[in-house]
Structure formats: structure tokens, C-alpha cells
């Protein structure tokens, strides 16, 4: 909102430079974002928070400066002579819906001369970015910006009846607004109607037909109060807004309507002549009853951390427009003025008023706080460990968008078939569903990096996927670990194994065949932890590679990290070092393609070979001289006794037995060097 400093000075003679005024206002709650000179004037651009609609006008801001400086507030003149004829005989005003319109006032001024506004008025409006139109319309805008009360002037001769009926629109009713836009009205919208049709969208904008123009001579001056949420809904529905609707939405002073109407009448008589009818048609159900609120100084001290006394508090509140009813015994009781009715209704609101004027700089910045232990939970720790490990293994961490393309999300569903959650008001179609897997985002990032010529792009992401749950409104937000590698599937599997091993889970994990569609059928696997599925890995298929526009099909993995973290074994137990040296033997055997390493390992481990401590794979070889359809698996065996040093001959027999066993079970042949 734009504020003119010269204009402010009409209502309060504060002795501050523009910069000082801007600073004082900012430090007490009205943030002045910009300041520029305009001739001899200064224009402040301020951001008014939604709880302070009273600051959306010059008198409101002047009131703040009055409270800050002590200079008194000077209300503008509102007096004028009336011509004797009572307003009731000239127009009939009825409110049909008091919930949507608690109060409507109408004044009648006849015989006005419409013309351009005098320079002082045009300048005031232009200084704050408004365009002068004619004297009467300019006065309604001026009084709006002065007092915060939206006003509207109708050409009385164009009102049929003449009657004002404040009612809901009827089905099918239409109106053309003063900005030329045409609207179809709905029954939830409040209109100002005459005897026959709507003449204004209440609180939002007047109708074109009844607007004040060059030929107008008689005016009906509306000054009313409308239900804020309804104005907001109507404004949004019609995509129509104005300085008036802006203020009604935020809450206009419930007691201001008549005073602002008189102010406008005073100015109209001065600038456009005419005679003002006696009285005002003021329709309302109830008058404003100010709330009574008490503030305890002790409560202030407990909340703010700084003491204040009753004198000081009462002084501040009084300057802000609150009427002090009682002061003493550690309490101050006040009546809330109408222009703060929406915002101040409790003790804590008064505390804020006193505190912000006193200044938050008075609050000390070092107080002792009681010690308290903050527990680190296990998942936090395992997350930290996992990130360290991934970084150590050469993967860099990505943070990608959780909102994705529904087409893509549809194909990556490693965690179940529930449909992806769909946002009703997305910013773009390709960011309209919550992701069910981390992999698509990671593949997109890989592509971006490929295009940039990145030679190395190994990524991981440790973050959530969103899985809808039957019968529940909120999805499961499952923490997953996704990774995209530069290497082959054994590199990816190695990374997963390293992680599981470090977390003490490798022994309870199994890698099995998978049938997930987005992987290449010849290179994919799934992982189970204690029989529960915790992840999948594989090389992406040709289709997927093309879809993501990648140069080569890369290898990826995705794991259920919350399960991993929950099962992780972080404790260690010391095992005494062996006292006798081992005997090691390396073997390479040739077996059929279909024979898995697990079968070989299980056969060896299950054979009950004495002193065999460990069998460890180290090489897979295919090609000459190994026959086609067969492969060579090389592994090392470690033999050790707890109580003596083994000799080679003891071990040789065991090895020969193993070779025979493997030969029988798997047609394994020993591979000669």
C-alpha cells in the first residue's frame, strides 16, 4: 500500500523525517519496504499484515505515529448543513440478509455538479497511484484511502424505485461492472439491488448503469459493512477485486460507516455543491459493543521476559485508541476500539500491543535455559551412517522433486499397486502426482548430467516416497534409498551389500530373482531382509532408457530404508583374535551357467568340512577355454583350528573331498591353471 507523508501530516503533526518515520513504523509492525520522494512529498510503500486492516488508510497509519511520538491525532472535519428533506422520503433501504450485510447507510445529495477534482484532491490520489475520474468518484476514493471505509456513489435518478435492497442474487441475474466486465451472479453472492435488478456486486464493485457520470445530478452515497468471508468468496469466484473488496475481506471498522459517509458528504458539498438530505438511512440489527479486555502486568513479564508497569501500559494502549477503564493492582482494563475489533480480543493481544510499541530491542538476548537432554533416535543415526557410506563409495546425494509426472510414476511401482496421489491444483501436469519411487527422479537427473558432459555421475537419494493406503486419507511416507550408478550391476549390488554389511544386516539378507518390468529381464534382482522384501536392483530396460533419453541403460537400486534402519545392528561385540594361523586354498571350478553361486556356497558350507571357516567368491569367468554354456567360479577357502596350527596335508584331503562333492552335485570340474 502506498502512503503519502504529507497526507499523513494532516492527521498528526509528527516531527520525523521520512526515513525516521519509515523506520519507526517498521520497528512497530508496519513494514515500510520502499521510500521515494515525489516533489516535496515522500511516498512510503508499506506491507500491511492481514491482522491490521486498520492500517489500510492514512488515519490508521497516522494513529500509529501518534502512539509512537505522542503527537495528538487530528480528525478531519465532517460537518455540513442539511436541506431539510428527510432521507427516508427519498429512498427506501432494506437489508434482506443481515448475516451478509450487518449494516447499510445511505445518504442522499441532490443537485450536484459533476466536474474534475481540484488540484489538491487529484494530487493526493495520484501520489498514491490512483487515477482521478470526477469530483464525486474521487471523493469516494479519497475517503476510502483516508478512513478505510469503502464508499460507493450511485446516480440516484438511475435507481428504480428508488429502493435499495441488500439481498442475495437470484439465479440467472447478471450485471456489468464499472470496469466494463460482465458477470453471471450466483445465489451465494450478495448484491445491492434497486426495485428491479442488481446495481452493484456488494462490497466488490458498482454497476456500470448506475455509476456517477457527467450528467449525474442526484447521488445516493452508500457506506456499509459486509461479511468478510463472503466478500472474499464472491471476489474470487468472479475474479473481480477492488480496493474496496480488499478492505472488506480483511475487516472494516464496524462503527465507521456513518462517520465516513458524513466525511464524504462534507467534501461533496464543498467540491460539487448540492444539498444534503436530512439524516441517513441507517439499517442495522445491532450497534457495535466494544469488548472489554484486561492485561496483567505479571503475565506480560512472564511472556515477554521484560517487566512493564500499569502506567506505561495504560499510556501506550490509550495512545493506540484503547479506552482505559481501570488501572491498578497489576492490571489494566480497556475497551477495544471498533477499528481493532477483529484483531484484539484477548489479554495476549494487548500484551503484543504494549510490547511492540515499547520495542523488542528491550528484550535481553542471553537468558539461562534449563538443561535438557535431546535423544537422537536410531533412524537418525542410521541415516547419517548411510549417507557417510554412500559418499565414501563415491555416490553424490541428490534432492529431487516429490511431485512427478503421472505417466512416469505409473510405470515405476516397486512398492505396490496403489494409485499415485494426485494433486487437485498442480502447477503443471508433469508435476501433479506424488512419487511412488525415487528412481524416475534420479534417472532424470542422470540425463541432465549426461547432457552436461559429466564423466562421473553416481547418485543416491535418501528421501520419501508416498504410498496410498486403503481406507486411510493420508499415505504412508516411506523413507527409501535410491541409487543410480556409473558401473554395472555387480557394482550396485556391491554398494547395497556394503551398506547392509556395515549395518550388521548382510547375514539376514537374501538376493533373489525379480520380475519387475522396468528392469532388463536378464539383469534384475530383489532383496529380502529376514524374509521381508526390502528392495530391488537391476539394469534399466531398453524402453526405460529411451524414455529417459539416456545414452546407456544404467544400473539402479531402491531400498526400503525405514525397515533397514529399524533392523540395523549398531552394537558390536568383540571376538577374540585367532591364536593359530589359517591355511588358505584357492579353487576354480567349471559349472553350468544355471548353477548359482548360492548353491555352490551352500553345498560347501553344508558339507560339514572340518576346520573350514570361510568360503569367499572372487572371480567369475566365461570364455575360452571354458566351454560354452559353462562358467568358471573361483573362490578361496580358509581353514583354521582353534587349538593348533593345521598342516597342509590335513587340508588337502578336505579339499579333495569338496571337489568330489561339487563334481557329483554340480558336474563341477576343477579348472586347471
Amino acid at each position: 500500500m502506498k502512503i503519502s507523508l504529507e497526507w499523513l501530516k494532516q492527521y498528526c503533526k509528527f516531527d520525523l523525517t521520512a526515513e525516521e518515520a519509515a523506520r519507526r513504523l517498521t520497528m512497530s509492525g508496519l513494514e515500510v519496504e520502499g521510500l521515494h520522494a515525489l516533489g516535496s512529498d515522500w511516498i512510503l510503500t508499506a506491507e500491511v499484515t492481514s491482522n491490521r486492516p486498520d492500517l489500510l488508510c492514512h488515519i490508521g497509519v497516522a494513529r500509529e505515529l501518534s502512539a509512537l511520538t505522542g503527537a495528538p491525532l487530528i480528525p478531519p472535519p465532517v460537518d455540513f448543513d442539511c436541506d431539510g428533506s428527510p432521507v427516508g422520503g427519498l429512498v427506501e433501504v432494506t437489508i434482506e440478509d443481515f448475516d451478509l450485510c450487518p449494516r447499510y447507510t445511505a445518504r442522499v445529495i441532490r443537485g450536484v455538479k459533476i466536474g474534475p477534482s481540484p488540484a489538491w484532491l487529484a494530487d493526493r490520489l495520484e501520489a498514491i497511484g490512483l487515477r482521478p475520474i470526477n469530483n464525486v468518484v474521487d471523493i469516494t476514493n479519497f475517503v476510502l484511502m483516508e478512513t478505510g471505509q469503502p464508499l460507493h456513489a450511485f446516480d440516484l435518478r438511475k435507481l428504480r424505485g428508488p429502493k435499495i435492497v441488500v439481498r442475495r442474487a437470484r439465479k440467472g441475474e447478471r450485471i456489468v461492472a464499472i470496469d466494463g466486465s460482465a458477470h453471471e451472479l450466483s445465489e451465494t453472492m450478495l448484491v445491492i439491488a434497486d426495485a428491479e435488478r442488481p446495481v452493484a456486486v456488494a462490497g466488490v464493485m458498482g454497476g456500470l448503469e448506475t455509476e456517477v457520470g457527467d450528467t449525474t445530478t442526484d447521488l445516493l452515497l452508500e457506506s456499509a459493512l459486509f461479511n468478510a468471508p463472503n466478500i472474499r468468496r464472491t471476489s474470487r469466484a468472479l475474479k473481480l477485486e477492488s480496493d474496496s473488496s480488499y478492505r472488506f475481506e480483511r475487516g472494516v471498522d464496524p462503527d465507521l460507516a456513518d462517520w465516513a459517509s458524513r466525511r464524504a458528504a462534507h467534501l461533496i458539498k464543498k467540491l460539487a455543491g448540492g444539498s444534503v438530505a436530512e439524516g441517513v438511512a441507517d439499517v442495522r440489527k445491532q450497534t457495535y459493543q466494544p469488548a472489554t479486555v484486561t492485561m496483567r502486568t505479571e503475565r506480560f513479564r512472564r511472556l515477554i521476559g521484560v517487566p512493564v508497569d500499569e502506567e506505561e501500559s495504560a499510556g501506550i494502549l490509550s495512545h493506540l485508541g484503547f479506552t482505559v477503564k481501570e488501572k491498578g493492582g497489576g492490571k489494566v482494563t480497556v475497551l477495544v476500539p471498533s477499528f481493532r475489533a477483529g484483531d484484539v480480543y484477548r489479554e495476549v493481544d494487548l500484551i503484543e500491543e504494549v510490547a511492540r510499541i515499547c520495542g523488542y530491542d528491550k528484550i535481553p538476548d542471553s537468558t539461562p535455559m534449563p538443561i535438557c537432554v535431546a535423544k537422537r533416535d536410531k533412524e537418525e543415526m542410521v541415516q547419517g551412517l548411510a549417507r557417510d557410506l554412500m559418499v565414501a563409495m563415491g555416490y553424490s546425494e541428490a534432492v529431487s522433486f516429490t511431485l512427478t509426472d503421472p505417466q512416469v510414476a505409473g510405470r515405476f511401482a516397486p512398492w505396490g499397486d496403489q494409485p499415485a496421489l494426485q494433486v487437485a491444483n498442480p502447477m503443471a501436469q508433469d508435476r501433479s502426482v506424488m512419487r511412488r519411487s525415487l528412481l524416475p527422479g534420479l534417472l532424470q537427473i542422470k540425463r541432465t548430467n549426461e547432457r552436461q558432459g559429466a564423466r562421473k555421475c553416481a547418485l543416491f537419494e535418501l528421501s520419501h516416497v508416498y504410498l496410498a493406503r486403503q481406507g486411510e486419507k493420508l499415505p504412508e511416507e516411506r523413507l527409501c534409498l535410491g541409487l543410480v550408478s556409473d558401473g554395472d550391476l555387480r557394482d550396485v549390488k556391491g554398494a547395497v551389500e556394503t551398506l547392509l554389511d556395515r549395518l550388521g544386516l548382510l547375514g539376514q539378507s537374501k538376493f533373489l530373482s525379480s520380475d519387475l518390468q522396468f528392469f532388463d529381464p536378464s539383469e534384475r534382482a530383489r532383496v529380502e531382509l529376514n524374509g521381508v522384501p526390502i528392495g530391488c536392483l537391476g539394469r534399466i530396460g531398453r524402453e526405460t532408457t529411451a524414455e529417459f533419453d539416456l545414452r546407456t541403460p544404467c544400473c539402479v537400486a531402491e531400498m526400503d530404508f525405514s525397515r533397514i534402519a529399524a533392523s540395523a545392528v549398531l552394537d558390536r561385540k568383540y571376538v577374540r583374535l585367532p591364536s593359530h594361523p589359517p591355511v588358505e586354498r584357492d579353487l576354480a571350478i567349471i559349472v553350468d551357467e544355471g548353477t548359482t553361486w548360492a548353491e555352490i556356497r551352500e553345498a560347501v558350507e553344508g558339507a560339514g568340512v572340518a576346520f573350514l571357516k570361510k568360503i569367499e567368491f572372487f572371480d567369475l569367468y566365461r570364455g575360452k577355454p571354458v566351454p560354452e554354456g559353462r562358467k568358471s567360479l573361483a573362490f578361496s577357502l580358509v581353514f583354521r583350528s582353534e587349538d593348533r596350527t593345521l598342516i597342509g596335508e590335513e587340508v588337502n584331503k578336505a579339499v579333495e573331498d569338496l571337489i568330489s562333492l561339487l563334481g557329483r552335485r554340480f558336474s563341477a570340474e576343477l579348472r586347471k591353471a
Binding site: 492481514s50 511472556l303 521476559g305 535431546a374 559418499v391 511431485l403
Partner: protein, 338 residues
Amino acid sequence: MEARIAAAEQQALAEIAAAKNAGDLEALRVKYLGRKGALKDLMSAVASLPPEERPRAGQAANAFKTRLSAAIEAAKKGLSSATDTRKGAPAFDPSLPGRRAALGHRHPITQMIDRIKDIFGRMGFRVAYGPEVEFSRNNFEALNIPPDHPSRDAFDTFYFDRDVVLRSQTSTVQIRVMEGQKPPVRIIAPGKTYRPDTVDATHCFMFHQVEGLYVDEGVSMADLKAVLTLFAREFFWPDVKIRFRPHFFPFTEPSVEVDVSCALCGGKGCPVCSKKGWIEFGGAGMVDPNVFQVVGYDPERYTGFAFGLGIDRLVMMRYGIDDIRCFFDNDMRFLSQF
């Protein structure tokens, strides 16, 4: 006899000195000290001397053996360190780069969240989490934001249906935590938040915030200032001050925006702080009693403070990053800078 031994020794020592490799030395050892070597002949000669001359000659022979063994050993050692340098091979160039480990990089946002957790952790704040897909009630009504209210504009949301939204602030976690336990509460809650916002250099529809909440008997705004001052001094620069500017949030009363003094100009104004002397880094306030009412805490007995910091913005300030989109492009050239 002694003369003969001395002559043999002189010759042997000369040959040892001239030996080029371990093989030569071994041959010399065999020649002089082996079973059929020179020493054997000398010992035989000593044995055939008259008895009164044998002890002295024998001693001389033994001394010869000792000295020769030592000379051969010494020569061997000298040769082995010499062979390592491979005579004629070029010396090591210490300026040649070594083979470095190919480490990955943690994302700068994660690094920042870790730092924030660490700083607040040392002040006794534990980490709490809440869902991103949240009930509209926890994002609005429970936080004292009524429906059809202009304050909702600031918290414009993505929604799934009438009751479920993508949270527009981490303050939703305040509700979850307080409804889940009795006071005292001392938590921080980092996480992703969402607002429909056109994406540009400083705005994105998905961003990261961290919420702080401390509720107990006797918590005041002075505690809020102290905690945020400690944080600012750890996070920004050691001598900074913070200041509160009155503002409005529906879920705190009083509400403030928090600025940190610019370290470069000490508050006078310079290009880093856009001449203001202060840099805004978050919002805060005392928990509104209406919120305590919703979660069932007695506002007469308990008071609390809450704060919210924009993490992405903090990271940008800390590292001088000028485009928020960098965080989500995840270009390796960006990630590897941190």
C-alpha cells in the same frame, strides 16, 4: 702366518668393495668363508703350526673371519638400498598428483540440515518429523487460520481434496507433537514444504523449512531471543546480533520476523545486506493460546515459543548461491562444490 692372513684380508676387502651385486658378494663369501674357502686353508695352516704359535694364529684367523663377515654384511646392506633406487632411474616428482579417492558429496541442503540439527541439538532440541501430505486441519484450523480468511493467502496450498493438503509450512509438526505428548516440549522439525509458486531464481514450489518449538512453564520471548542469538552466532558469524520486527502469523502472538546483523558492515548497510544492515532469516513468536487450546495445553500454566526458518534461503546466503533451482537440478558440477 699373520702376514699371510693380513694379505688375504686386504685382498678380500678390496674385492668386497668392488662387488656390484648381492650375487657377487655371496660368491665372495663362499670364496673366503665357505666350506672350501680361503678361511679353511688358513685354519688348516694354523693347525699345522708348532703348538706355541697356534693360539695367536688362531685368534688372528678368527678375527679375519669376523671382520670379513661384517664387511660382507655391510656391503650387502649398502647394495640393497642402492638397488632400490635402480641406478639410472629418474627421481620421484613430488608435484605429480597422487591417486585420490573418488568420494561423493552430500547435498548442500542435507549438510545444512545436519548443521542446524547439531546446533539445536546442543541446546537440547530433539528432532521431530511429521507428514508432508497432511490434514488441512493441521495446516490451517489447528494453527488458528480460519477458512475464507485473507491470512490463508500467505499459506496458499496444493490440495488433494477438501481435507488433505501438501503442508505449506512445517508448523503442522507443532500440532502433531503437542497432540502426541504432554509438555515440556523442545523440538526442531526440518522437512519439505510446498506452495504453489512460479519457479524462479528465488522461489520454488517445493522448499525446505525447519520449525522450532519450546513449550514449558515460564518460557518467554527472552528465551526465544537467546536461542536464536546462539543459533545465529553458530550459524552465521560469531559476533552477530539479532533483532525482532513485529509481524503477524496466526499461530503466534506476539509474532516477529527475525533479522541478523550483517557481519560485513556491522549494521551500517552494504551490498551484501542490500544496504539495510540486517538480513532477514526467519519468523517466530510466542505460541498463540488458541493453538494451545486446540492441542489441550493449559495456556495459563504453559507458554512457548516457535520459530520457522527457510533452509534453502539460509544455504543460499551461506554459500552465495544465487539460484534456488540449483538445489533441484542436482548437476554434478554443483554438487561437487560442497
